[in-house]
């Protein structure tokens, strides 16, 4: 196994073009585990830790551009206000040690259906900034996941950054695991309300071959919610709407039975999480509306 180290982003892109089979590595919290367990040893590792450009984030209008080297710990500490869904999900990743090393881009590179970063990215409508010596390509997140642990990156492409819209409305992430910390998702769910265009975003994790949106649930809810915050401060959530939304979310998934849980439980838990997170989000929306007057 060769070990390649890039000092600059340009050099990283060149190395990846020369050695498209190389697996990029940063925190190593996923790649090293696979290597240690002797599962599919890569022909080469491409170390990006030394590429300084990747380690920062910036605000670009209504978007946050999160460099591929930004760790979960920094997402929690520095971006919790503007990307609350992503920060909540980051808080559930592994242990403090893992969050100090692991990166969101690593989550995307591995593209495990159980990755905690995926649902909030789907719910908020993020865009993956992929780059190669051929140039930059922007991949909408919903088209990024192509199969179990497969993504839309071309062999010579690396993830430069993830562009995430700043939250214009409430966002929540919820994850079921069999222990109260440091646990891989049995299933997970993210919701984002987008009041600016009266849309609803969702993301489902660990309940289908890929992370995915509950598209029908989003459309249904966007149409049913009474977005107007009139003098009365908006109307409470209709429990029947919440129940139908939950049902549609569960229906969007294609869970399986595995060592972490049964398909029936996953469907059930998704519905519960969808109903609860919607309740919290709508409560926040109404409260924010009242506060605005």
């Amino acid at each position: 196994m060769d070990f390649l180290r890039a000092r600059t982003w340009a050099e990283a892109l060149e190395l990846k073009a020369e050695r498209p089979e190389a697996t990029p590595i940063q925190g190593g919290t996923d790649v090293m585990v696979e290597i240690n367990l002797d599962r599919g040893r890569p022909a080469a590792l491409l170390d990006l830790n030394t590429v300084g450009e990747l380690a920062g984030w910036s605000r670009e209008g209504e978007w946050i551009r999160v460099g591929a080297g930004v760790t979960y710990a920094r997402l929690i500490d520095e971006l919790g206000e503007v990307l609350p869904g992503l920060a909540q999900a980051s808080r559930t990743v592994g242990s403090p040690q893992i969050r100090n090393r692991g990166t969101l881009a690593g989550n995307l590179g591995a593209a495990s259906p159980a990755g905690d970063g995926h649902p909030p990215l789907l719910a908020s409508g993020a865009v993956v900034e992929a780059e190669s010596v051929r140039g930059v390509r922007l991949i909408p997140i919903a088209r990024f996941y192509t199969g179990v642990k497969r993504n839309a990156l071309a062999p010579d492409e690396l993830i430069r950054a993830v562009r995430v819209p700043t939250a214009a409305g409430p966002q929540y992430f919820s994850k079921v695991g069999t222990r109260n910390a440091m646990v891989i998702a049995v299933c997970s769910f993210a919701i984002a309300l987008h009041p600016e265009n009266r849309r609803v975003g969702t993301g489902i994790g660990s309940a289908a071959p890929t992370p995915l949106r509950a598209v029908a649930a989003e459309a249904f809810l966007a149409g049913e919610l009474d977005w107007t915050l009139g003098r009365a401060g908006g109307s409470a959530l209709d429990p029947e709407v919440a129940a139908r939304f939950a049902e549609l979310v569960a229906g969007a998934a294609a869970p399986i039975d595995d060592v972490r849980g049964r398909a029936a439980y996953r469907s059930h838990a998704l519905a519960v999480m969808a109903r609860r997170t919607l309740g919290w989000a709508w409560h926040d929306y109404l409260r924010a509306g009242r506060g605005a007057r």
């Binding site: 367990l37 994850k175 109260n180």
Partner: protein, 747 residues
């Protein structure tokens, strides 16, 4: 009995352990850190099948790889081909057949661990898979079930017969029955199996090894190597946890074979996945119980059938069956008893010793039954237990008299009187709620439950085992100061025994400077670091040897009243004494009635668990665990509290998450990614009350303490989850879906 505990760092003080800081800072040398220049690395090829014939093994491809020094099969085992703790039924390397997934088939030594692993993988084994016996009930009761071993699948059937259950049943006004299941728990030690074998000039081998009992290892290793025991010398290497999983051999013979074959030191370290396949687990159990009582909740009879899945080899299954049977009704007074406990062979992973050892499984079942009985009689869980509680003078199921304090009713009263934790506030920190920061609830669906449980555990080896320990104590003058050297073969596995040995020497000899020598086989056997026995037996041996030294010293002092201790030692030289210590003898259970004084000491622990359950998602937050335990005499308060915390945590793990999932004889989750153990957010703060009612037969009156908390915490947590959900929950670990997908809970 009064004991002088005023001595600084003596018995009764919270003396800090010497390895504590090293372990926390990552500097402690574990067996996996052993290193010698020029050493080779061993690797094991294991069976992928739970049951198969081996048609051929070709080690050629491994030997052809550069860097490979040896590849061995059963043909290369120099002596006996099999070993075992109680019975030699386990092949060193598979001979013509494999009986479980992970059974060692061949060995490789190479100059790099990676090369060794690849070479092992290159060995070509032709298997012919056959039907695997995976259902323990079938193994126990179906005469047409294929036999895992030539003598059939029954390892031990132990009945207990007291009185006449048939007649008693007619007099019972309330009868409750239940079927219960306990999943396969793993000891989940963090330091994987590892050791270093060094070939010696005399043709023997020096083995540095993480184990629980050096001498029983040696006595199994030597015959397989074809060596006299004197040529197999063991030294204890740094142990990263044990909990029973190191009672059986793992890589000891393998590394020694490779070292003798190559003439080079050979190190073996299991990876995590290999470790899950490379040691025994807690026996899964299926149990059927029937309790009859009067209307006011007094037990009339108990009938039970307990089936323990021993997996492919015998290991300590017979003794585990003995515990399940003899302790099968728990610490309750019952006039008529009928228990049948079975241990069986299957092609599932081998099961053997784990903290609690057969008593854990039974305790979960009888305590679940006591709660059912409480409900049927309209009594509280505490009241039903109090009404039936044993005390000094009671007899347990074996007819054995409890001849030392057993204040169970008082312990129950004490735990029931402890204040209950406050409800979690509405705007609580997520970490206080079920699901933690995974944010599955902000309080929705959360219901509180409280559960109680008690447990009865035997301390030390039972059923006639010659259970002893040896200690050598030397008092001498070093650099002008008196100094004590304590040498035993007792394995420090993290329980704090090194510290306790030094405390005893300080108290007994009144000397501050004490060194505990590394444990090895140059001194007599100390017995196993299991059955909560080392403070008792090795502690007793150290105490007795110290007393012998003191006796000689007293005689010298009487003769030379003018001389100080140091002057005496300077003039007459060191005083050294070696003593063996035995506890009161026990007898085997009667094969037909199960009667007899089979245990030397019995210990009680009581738990109360308070849980918050998200009944819609089935997630549980244990809010508080309280425990009352009678330890007879506290030797080291800090270390003791650690034992009770740890034992309780292991029991909590069994209640809520810890299970090796096995399907068709194959382990599905051999890693800490999917074999979950409690984190600090799962294990709550504990409220402890530790009682000291001495056992006059034991050194200082102490009662073994490591295991009892592991028994009662599981049923206490399960009872609390039942109280919160209203569900029967007859299986542990309780899975989220057991709660969430049962309609009764969603109301």
């Amino acid at each position: 009995m009064t004991i002088e505990t005023g001595r600084r760092s003596g018995v009764g003080e919270s003396v800090l352990r010497p390895d504590g800081t090293l372990k926390v800072t990552g500097e402690f040398a574990y067996a996996s850190d052993l290193w010698l220049d020029g050493m080779l690395w061993g690797a094991t090829l294991r069976s992928p099948h739970p049951s198969a014939w081996i048609r051929s093994v070709d080690i050629g491809p491994a030997l052809a790889m550069p860097g490979v020094f040896a590849a061995l099969t059963h043909r290369n085992v120099p002596g006996e081909k099999s070993y075992g703790l109680e019975h030699r039924d386990q092949p060193v390397l598979a001979v013509d057949e494999v009986r479980y997934q992970g059974e060692p088939v061949a060995l490789v030594a190479a100059d790099h661990p990676e090369t060794a692993r690849r070479a092992a993988a290159a060995i070509v084994v032709e298997y012919e898979p056959r039907e695997a016996v995976v259902d323990p009930m079938r193994a126990a009761f179906d005469p047409d079930c294929p036999a895992v071993h030539p003598n059939g699948n029954l390892v031990r059937h132990q009945p207990v017969r007291v009185g006449d259950v048939g007649a008693a049943a007619t007099g019972a006004e309330v009868v409750v029955t239940g079927e219960y299941e306990v999943g396969m728990q793993d000891q989940a030690f963090l330091g994987p199996e590892s050791g270093l074998a060094v070939p010696a000039e005399d043709g023997g081998v020096d083995l540095y090894i993480a184990t629980q009992w050096l001498h029983v290892d040696r006595d199994q290793i030597a015959p397989c190597l074809g060596l006299p025991p004197g040529k197999v010398r063991l030294s204890l290497a740094g142990v990263g946890g044990a909990f029973g999983a190191r009672e059986d051999l793992s890589m000891q013979i393998h590394a020694s074979m490779l070292a003798l074959r190559t003439g080079r030191p050979v190190k073996m370290v299991y990876g995590r996945e290999e470790s899950f396949l490379g040691h025994v687990h807690r026996h899964p159990a299926r149990m059927r119980y029937e309790h009859g009582a009067t209307l006011d909740g007094r037990l009339v009879y108990v009938k039970a059938e307990i089936v323990l899945d021993g997996g492919a080899y015998r290991s300590s299954t017979p003794a585990v069956v003995g515990n399940a049977a003899s302790l099968g009704v728990g610490p309750y007074e019952v006039a008529d008893i009928e228990i049948d406990a079975y241990g069986v062979y299957t092609n599932n992973p081998p099961c053997g010793a784990m903290r609690g050892f057969g008593a854990v499984q039974a305790c979960y079942a009888y305590e679940s039954q006591m709660d059912r009985l409480a409900e049927a009689c309209g009594l509280s869980p505490v009241e039903i237990r109090t009404r039936n509680a044993v005390s000094q003078g009671s007899r347990i199921a074996t007819g054995q008299l409890i001849d030392t304090p057993a204040p169970l009713a008082e312990m129950l009263a004490e735990i029931a009187a402890m204040p209950l934790p406050e409800p979690v506030a509405v705007q609580a920190d997520l970490r206080l709620l079920p699901g933690g920061v995974s944010q599955t609830t902000h309080g929705e669906g959360v219901r509180r439950g409280v559960g109680y449980a008690v447990g009865l555990k035997n301390i030390c080896f039972s059923e006639g085992f010659d259970d002893y320990s040896t200690a050598q104590v030397r008092l001498e003058s070093l650099a002008g100061e008196p100094h004590v050297l304590v040498h035993t073969a007792a394995a420090e596995v993290g329980q704090g025994l090194v510290t306790v040995q030094a405390q005893i020497a300080r108290t007994e000899l009144g000397v501050d400077r004490v060194t505990v020598a590394p444990a090895d086989t140059t001194v007599g056997s100390a017995g196993s670091s299991s059955a909560s026995r080392q403070s008792y037996v090795t502690g007793g041996a150290v105490k007795t040897a110290c007393e012998a030294v003191r006796q000689r010293l007293d005689a010298m002092r009487a003769e030379h009243p003018g001389l100080s201790l140091d002057e005496l030692l300077e003039r007459f030289g060191p005083i050294e004494e070696t003593r063996e210590y035995r506890h009161r003898p026990t007898v085997p259970m009667d094969p037909v009635t199960g009667q007899g004084d089979t245990h030397t000491q019995l210990a009680l622990c009581v738990h109360r668990a308070v849980v918050d359950v998200d009944v819609e998602l089935g997630l549980v937050k244990v809010v508080e665990l309280a425990a009352v335990q009678d330890v007879g005499k506290i030797l080291n308060p800090l270390a003791l509290e650690g034992q009770i915390h740890g034992g309780s945590a292991q029991g909590l793990g069994l209640a809520l998450m810890e299970e090796i999932q096995v399907r068709d004889g194959r382990v599905l989750n051999p890693s800490f990614t999917d074999y979950l153990i409690p984190t600090i957010l799962d294990m709550p703060p504990m409220r402890l009350s530790i009682l000291e009612n001495p056992d006059p037969h034991a050194p200082y009156g102490l009662r073994g303490a490591g295991e009892p908390p592991t028994l009662s915490s599981t049923p206490a947590v399960a009872a609390a989850v039942r109280a919160a959900t209203g569900l029967p929950l007859t299986r542990v670990p309780i899975r989220p879906e057991d709660i969430a997908l049962t309609p009764a809970s969603i109301s």
